[in-house]
């Protein structure tokens, strides 16, 4: 579903991604771990299409199409979803209105009819229950005055409503207490499906106890320096990231 080849990206004068290679198949969950500043979030935003980054080399194929050639909203309509580390507040726009507008924009792109009020209400009810969210949150402005946990849960709600093919979760665990973490993870797990690929970006192994990945990649210095199964996450937890810095050189040299 997603094929990243030798991806280089820079922000102003700093090269952040220095040759990422990654292949994610439908139905898989991949975890991308790494120390602060390793380029994890940059990778997530480059996939979503944030315009602050310049792609200097490499290619990204998504569902057989050139992802880098698409506008941000085109990617969204094609099924790419990013759950933000810092969800943005939109004053005066209710969550419900926003969700409906998003669904309808995507439908429009796909030449599908607008969602009926009835279908929308039913879908929203189902997803709210899945995430244990109160429907009163739907009348509040998007993320405004939400606690950290509420914001993250709201991201997963949006993901559940938009039903993406490729979901990228950027540090969804940061700022969550253990109960919220469990609920969010259950929500994500409920969205695992053979048609959907999920990339979980995280600093800590903790999240991966709840969302068990098929593969774990370690990003350091803008490159993937190790890949393995879920045991790699445990090894990192044990030894910390520092040992990887030397490891990175080993990989590069080898």
């Amino acid at each position: 579903m997603l094929e990243i080849k030798n991806l280089h990206a820079r922000s102003e004068d700093t090269e952040i991604l220095r040759g990422i290679n990654l292949s994610v198949a439908a139905g898989e969950v991949h975890a991308i771990m790494g120390p602060n500043g390793s380029g994890k979030s940059t990778l997530a935003h480059v996939l979503a299409g944030r315009e602050d980054y310049e792609i200097t080399e490499g290619e990204v194929t998504y569902d057989g199409k050139d992802l880098l050639d698409m506008e941000i909203e085109e990617r969204a309509a094609e099924g790419v979803f990013l759950a933000y580390q810092y969800p943005v507040e939109i004053s005066g726009v209710s969550n419900k209105y926003f969700l409906k507008a998003a669904i309808n924009s995507i439908h429009k792109y796909r030449d599908e009819p607008v969602i009926s009020r009835k279908d929308f209400v039913a879908l929203l009810k189902e997803k709210l229950e899945l995430l244990g969210m109160d429907k009163s949150m739907m009348d509040r402005s998007v993320n405004e005055g939400f606690s950290g946990g509420e914001k993250k849960r709201n991201e997963i709600l949006q993901m559940a409503m938009l039903e993406p093919k490729l979901a990228v979760l950027d540090e969804t665990d940061s700022g969550l207490d253990i109960d919220a973490l469990k609920i969010v993870s259950e929500g994500v797990n409920a969205l695992r499906s053979p048609e959907r690929a999920i990339i979980v970006v995280t600093h800590y192994q903790r999240l991966l106890e709840y969302i068990v990945p098929d593969k774990v990649h370690v990003l350091a210095g803008g490159k993937i320096v190790r890949s393995g199964d879920k045991s790699l996450a445990l090894e990192l937890e044990d030894k910390g990231y520092s040992f990887l810095q030397s490891g990175a050189e080993t990989v590069a040299a080898g």
Partner: protein
């Protein structure tokens, strides 16, 4: 400049929808202003002597005044001798029914989305259509008469209800009030008059739709609304003008009087031609609007959505004279391209336990300059006066400006005045977030801006809120992304 900024810049470009000209023969007087012109206007309207005297008093006073300079807007000096002070479609008429209205005019209003045939009219809105200097038709008059409500062109009120006009004209905005109000008092040509008798809740929304058509013509209308004891009225005002390269002057006066327990809700959607993207042409909108809460427990609310005009200069105000009276001001002002707005309100607390609320939302795009100017005054006897003001500004792009000038004067120690202000940019983060969820940049900006204005939309009458939303989207529309 980042791409996002470039997009926002483009976004603030816009097309004006109502820029067409109606080809109709007009009865216009020569350009220029003099005592003779004032007399001529009065004569054309067949006015009584007392009104001519009042006009002349205003004119003579105006001659002694200087054009104000304190505002935060820039324009080349206006040549008051170059403007035409009276223009009316020919064949005008004492209209008994709509059938006698020139079809060309009906078509014009139809095109503007204001059908004047009653069966087509927006449910439950009575319309007074003012074209250049005269009112051409007022709908639903009979229905209103049944309730004792008078809603008619100002010039007609002068003839049919002189005692009412005489009693209230100039009592809220005196002939000597300010430069533009004095000018208006001297040369005003028409406008709407509205009287709600004691205890009557006006059964429908009243609305006046102003259209400037003729070239080089100033529009000087005057609106007077009187709400007797215990009555209620909701009044709407809309306006458009053709696209022209020259600036045109619009200097209106609106006076509201609310007696004991009366309520007046006055809503404006102002969409005069704003000039082109280079800043050429557009209406100079210098307007004096003021309401007097004369009675106890009376209430006046101003709601305005200002998207048009090259320059907007207006401060709808409330004089809170009656004890327990309430004044409200809700405003959205948009300045895109080269538009400038200096707008706000005055709340003068005189009576005891008077309350006022000010919610102002300024949106600047392009190289637009948007100023909020507000004055809250609590007089000596206004025990327990309360005011809450909130002024929020939003910037789109990085070449526009937002300014806030609050003046607060409290002469009674029990007074409580609160002022909050904020300035924000339409964030690239917000646009990116919404686009990531599938919205186009244009839809994203519309959503953000409409959300920003929500508090004001919430108090607009429903049809108007829909209209305002559309208008704001059109105003800021233009080829984003």
């Amino acid at each position: 400049m980042s791409t996002e900024n470039a997009m926002l810049e483009e976004f603030s470009q816009r097309e004006y929808e109502h820029g067409f000209v109606t080809d109709i023969e007009a009865d216009s007087i020569p350009a220029g202003l003099s005592e003779e012109v004032v007399r001529l206007i009065s004569e054309k309207k067949g006015e009584p002597q007392w009104l001519l005297d009042w006009r002349l008093k205003a004119y003579r006073h105006w001659l002694t005044l200087e054009e104000p300079q304190w505002h935060n807007v820039n324009y080349s000096p206006i040549d008051y001798q170059a403007a035409v002070y009276y223009s009316a479609p020919k064949k005008k008429p004492q209209l008994a029914s709509l059938d006698e209205v020139d079809p060309v005019l009906l078509e014009t209003y139809e095109k503007l989305g204001i059908p004047l045939e009653e069966q087509k009219v927006l449910a439950n809105v009575a319309v007074d259509a003012v074209f250049d200097s005269v009112s051409i038709v007022t709908t639903f008059r009979e229905t209103l008469e049944k309730h004792g409500v008078i809603f008619c062109p100002f010039s007609e009120a002068v003839h049919d209800h002189p005692e009412l006009v005489k009693k209230y004209l100039g009592t809220v905005v005196p002939h000597s009030d300010n430069f533009f109000a004095s000018l208006n008092s001297a040369v005003f040509s028409d406008g709407s008059f509205c009287y709600i008798p004691k205890g009557v809740r006006c059964p429908m929304e009243l609305s006046t739709y102003f259209r400037i058509n003729a070239q080089n013509t100033g529009q000087f209308e005057r609106t007077l609304i009187v709400a007797e004891e215990g009555s209620y009225v909701s009044y709407l005002e809309g306006c458009t003008a053709p696209k022209r390269d020259e600036n045109q002057l619009h200097a209106a006066v609106v006076e509201l009087v609310a007696l004991d327990d009366a309520q007046i809700k006055y809503s404006t959607v102002q969409n005069w031609y704003p000039g082109d993207s280079e800043g050429k042409g557009g209406i100079y909108n210098f307007v004096t609007k003021r309401g007097a809460c004369r009675g106890e427990n009376s209430k006046i609310s101003w709601t305005q959505v200002e998207t048009g005009s090259a320059i907007t200069w207006k401060y709808p105000s409330v004089i809170l004279q009656g004890d327990n009276s309430v004044g409200e001001f809700y405003s959205v002002a948009v300045t895109a391209n080269h538009q400038q707005a200096d707008t706000g309100t005055k709340m003068i607390h005189i009576g005891k336990n008077t309350k006022s609320t000010i919610i102002s939302k300024g949106i600047s795009a392009g190289v637009g300059q948007n100023s909020y100017r507000g004055e809250v005054k609590v007089m000596k006897n206004a025990t327990n006066a309360r005011n809450f003001s909130q002024c929020d500004s939003m910037l789109i792009g990085d070449r526009c400006g937002a300014h806030t000038f609050p003046y607060i004067e409290v002469r009674n120690t029990t007074g409580k005045v609160e002022h909050e202000a904020s300035t924000s940019k339409v964030g690239e983060d917000q646009i990116y977030y919404l686009r990531q969820r599938g919205l186009s940049t244009e839809d994203a900006v519309n959503m953000i801006v409409n959300g920003f204005c929500k508090e004001v939309y919430d108090v607009l009458p429903m049809e108007f809120a829909v209209e305002a939303r559309k208008l704001l989207n059109v105003s800021l529309e233009g080829s984003v992304g």
